[in-house]
Symmetry: C2
Subunit: 349 residues, 2 copies
Amino acid sequence: MDPVAYDSDLQRVGKHTIRDVARRANVSITTVSRTLNTPDLVEPETAKRVWAAIKDLRYYPNTQARSLVSGRSRILGLIVSDITNPFFPELVASFEDSALNHGFDVLVTSSNYDPQRMANSVRRMIERNVEGIAVMTSEMDDHLTGQLSSRNVPLVFLDVGSASDTISNIVVDYAGGIQQAVEHLVSLGHERIAFVSGPAGLKSAEERSSAFLDAMARRDLPRGETPVVLRGDHKVSGGVSAAEELLQLTPRPTAVAASNDLTAIGLLRAVRAAGLSVPGDLSVVGFDDIWLAEYTDPPLTTVRLSRTAIAEAACSALMADLGARPGNGNGREHRLSTQLVVRATTARV
Amino acid sequence: MDPVAYDSDLQRVGKHTIRDVARRANVSITTVSRTLNTPDLVEPETAKRVWAAIKDLRYYPNTQARSLVSGRSRILGLIVSDITNPFFPELVASFEDSALNHGFDVLVTSSNYDPQRMANSVRRMIERNVEGIAVMTSEMDDHLTGQLSSRNVPLVFLDVGSASDTISNIVVDYAGGIQQAVEHLVSLGHERIAFVSGPAGLKSAEERSSAFLDAMARRDLPRGETPVVLRGDHKVSGGVSAAEELLQLTPRPTAVAASNDLTAIGLLRAVRAAGLSVPGDLSVVGFDDIWLAEYTDPPLTTVRLSRTAIAEAACSALMADLGARPGNGNGREHRLSTQLVVRATTARV
DNA sequence: CTGTTAGCGCCTTCAA
DNA sequence: TTGAAGGCGCTAACAG
């Protein structure tokens, strides 16, 4: 045993165990444990002595030991694609807040769009015995999902996957959001509306694309025209290239909706670079309402998808599925709607 | 013992222990442990059997138990002010990468500029037995620091604190960075240069402020003039208000340096709102080079402070101080320099 | 109300 | 090269 641990100079002393506290308070370790976990079961006077010892020794319970015996790690996993993507920091922050409120710590990892890295994250989370994982990215493959659910680790996905026993799913109403955007433009008199999509293969992006086509189909288009959809990549650069294509079109669209805000920002930039003005020559609508949208020039009209709401929904889904046994019909879908935020990149034709 | 754990349908089976593996491979648990930790000490043939069992059972070692016995959690703590502040996500990502390379997981928390919350973070980290903490915020008070270092938890700070046994410090050369900014402006012919500072009490911000005054003092100012310093808050809004003040000044400065990029962005916005142009009427330099700087309009000239470098320095400092015992003269200062990044918000007078 | 005892899953002497 | 046994710090029966 490390002699330092029993140094009499308490200021300098490092880690103490429940046993040290017990000794100092003249009680058994059980009593110490109980004053910590089930205070009602212990005589107030005794408890007081215990607390004094705890304070004197600067005792902190060892979570590892606690977890080992209780089988509960009180850790939640959170996997995002890339934390430097402005969509995620707020999500991470809110998720941590929610988890904290439930007494959980959070292990955050970025998949960086790399399945290998993703698998590695999952392995580490299993080894750490996380009690649930929020998968806010689409790199998750079925193999991993199966692995996790066979271990009864509750999972919650964003947009992908389908709810089952211990798998919940957060379903964003992209169709509704895109429709809000399109209707807003239509209400301003726009008819030739283009769309800049996200990367191919990203389910949520493809949903937005087809939602756009649907929304447009419900409008009376100018005779013989079909709506233009350009491919973006959900990054600024994709918006820039899309704008360059867009401005070549004749007749040129009078408005464009983007699959996310970064794309819209690229659009703004390229349009201005071409010597045109937003919304004078072209109206632009984004999607997500990232923090930055408020500070573009002009401030971006967009469709808000609340990261706070996503995070909270994810956390409660996990909490709900926590003690779930297979077959109990846990796992649920949580639907999230969007709100149009009108700022200054849209105007009458 | 949970019967499910011994279900013969391995696909559905959840958690297994080292004991299950041992049984299945017909060896003792010691041998299993050894094939995992010290493979050289085990007969290749035996090891093969063990690995097969591990795979069959989808066995994952339990980190809690491992930590408990080894006394090493393989977790690093990272405390940032506010992860939604664009300065931090990159830092977090890089820190996680570095930690991962050293076999550590990371517990990230945001202090949200709240000392109470900070203390709570620290407590959780102690309870989880983190092996080191990177404190990338200034909410840390001496009491917490003392607590941690008396437990021999290596600490690394950004800008604050002074190196000691198990405390390292990352020292950014703000003076050099600000000087780069000022010299750049001077080289473009600017003489009336203003500065928008950060929040009062933030050491790194105050350093930048005084560095600005120093740099200006070294220049020949127009007769009888002293450089203007306005107070900002390191947020966009602070830049906006500062710009409003700034534009009232007579004679009006021809250039302004900001204490960080968000401030500069606020400046850009307000100047444009006032009908003036950047850099035509006013040159602007930022500080940090956040991701966004490249996408402002016009793209922001700024001083780059690499978050990757900070994160890597922080992680290696922690690694270096890991096994440190008091008095061994560990803990070091790591100096970081900055680079001027010239974009389009600065021009000749 | 309090204490004794038996593990949680794993690593690590010590023996064989 | 392998195994048996003890213990990491803590909680949870079970007795008193």
